[in-house]
Amino acid sequence: MLKVERICVDYGAVKALRDVSFRIEQGEIVALIGANGAGKTTVLNAISNIVPSACGSIVYLGKELTKLAPHEIVKLGISQVPEGRRVFGRMSVVENLEMGAFTRNDKEQIGLDLEKIFQRFPRLAERRKQPAKTLSGGEQQMLAMARALMSRPKLLLLDEPSMGLAPMLVEQIFAIVQEINRSGTTILLVEQNANMALSIAHRGYVLETGEVVLQGGAGELASDPQVRSAYLGE
């Protein structure tokens, strides 16, 4: 579905990504794990073309993404939940969700999707008129994910959904991620919480200082001694 081939990204003189390649198949959850600063977020921003790639190619369903503007990429069915949630704090919950549906023009269907979202996330329904900045961290994460779903993505890019959340909430968020995947959305999951990420992913890639150093099935990676010592705290 998505094929990333030898991309590199530079921030000035700093090489954030070097020759990063990986692929995602339809229906998968692929985890991208690695330490802080390894370049995980940069990979997502390169796919969304928020940061330009200096070399390499990113092909999604036969289309080259590196030449498209970010909003055109969303139209093709790729939606990103950015790191730190980035909800529009001064806008209401409903308005945030409407922004998620910005690329769509089918008013009735959007209304139905909103109702579905509110059934799935009752907390958001209770707070629909409130400015998003008044929501708790967990609620904001749910809003950010719900907002991304409003574009009906085929591929969902999730950046550190567990960041700053209490363990119980983390489990809840990961359960939602699995549920989203089961209903047919392919997922690329970026996480520092390697344990949780590998527990729901099908396959994974390990990123270290801008390079892919390991890859394999999620179970394989979780039992790899290198991964265990570096990322699973053993």
């Binding site: 503007a69 909003h71 939606s79 730190g84 980035r86 308005e95 922004m99 910005f102």
Partner: protein, 291 residues
């Protein structure tokens, strides 16, 4: 006397508010002080003048005509002078804005000469009405009425329409707005169009009010409106409206109590005082630095 001056002040303040809105909206989205904005106001006044003098249209049609011309001009200025510099330092864009400003006022000087031009007497029939203890001219009512309608219209666009919501989203978080599928370049063009249209309307209204249109009228009006935008909190739409009204009213009262020679200083003195106490302006949001 008090009521009289208040009405005078609100009329002047509404025009400041119309111009200030353009500064604040553009700053809200691309953090650029559009120094050419005062000149757009001036061009609006000239377009209105030409339409009324040569095409004998009434003042409302002149306002609409000026708004359309300036909308196109605002969008073009952004395309030509600011967009190529979007990724450069903010200072480059600022210098480019000053360049556009000088270009436009010099162009107007070349085309129309240095003398202020007046409107034909038939432009707007002025009558005096008596409201309580105050004499109000129909001209003041025109200014207050047109400004109020435009600001209500703006508020509707920004709060209720899809593109207006996209504007708010983009001004909160540029990159995340793009991740929503919002074409941020289109939003920026739209913002310039809106701001320029409001300034153009202000230009025609001021031209008719003082019966004078000149190539350098954008300078002082632009600076004061900018002061109004900062006073209200730059980036905040209600702030620009409030700042404009406050500035207009205090300027008129300052003149009324005998400080007419300090007329232009009053606006800036208030600005300095407010910023000393509240650096974000009256309704400004504290800017949280994005990582």
């Amino acid at each position: 006397m008090f009521l009289q001056q208040l009405i005078n002040g609100v009329a002047l303040g509404s025009v400041y508010a119309l111009i200030a809105l353009g500064y604040t909206m553009v700053y809200g989205i691309i953090t650029l002080i559009n120094f050419a904005h005062g000149e757009i106001f001036m061009v609006g006044a000239f377009v209105g003048l030409l339409l009324i003098s040569y095409f004998k249209v009434n003042v409302f049609i002149a306002i609409v005509g000026a708004m359309i011309v300036c909308m196109i001009m605002g969008v073009l200025i952004e395309r030509i002078a600011y967009r190529p510099l979007r990724k450069s330092s903010r200072l480059s864009a600022l210098i480019s804005a000053i360049g556009v400003s000088i270009f436009l006022s010099s162009l107007a000087l070349m085309l129309f000469g240095a003398d202020a031009k007046g409107f034909p007497d038939s432009a707007f029939p002025v009558r005096q009405l008596r409201i309580g203890s105050a004499d109000v001219s129909t001209l003041q009512l025109l200014i207050i009425g047109v400004s109020a309608c435009l600001m209500l219209g703006l508020e509707f666009i920004v709060q209720k329409t899809k593109i207006g919501k996209a504007m708010r989203a983009t001004s909160e978080d540029y990159n995340t707005a793009a991740l929503m599928g919002i074409d941020v370049n289109r939003v920026i063009s739209f913002t310039f169009a809106l701001g320029s249209a409001l300034a153009a309307a202000g230009g025609v209204l001021v031209g008719v009010l003082f019966n004078a249109v000149s190539f350098n009228m954008g300078l002082m009006a632009g600076l004061k409106a900018f002061a109004a935008a900062v006073l209200g909190g730059i980036g905040s739409i209600p702030g620009a409206m409030l700042g404009g009204l406050l500035l207009g009213v205090s300027e008129v009262f300052g003149v009324a109590i005998g400080y007419s020679s300090y007329r232009d200083a009053i606006a800036f003195a208030i600005l300095v005082l407010v910023l000393l106490v509240k650096p974000t302006g009256l309704l400004g949001q504290k800017i949280t630095k994005k990582v």
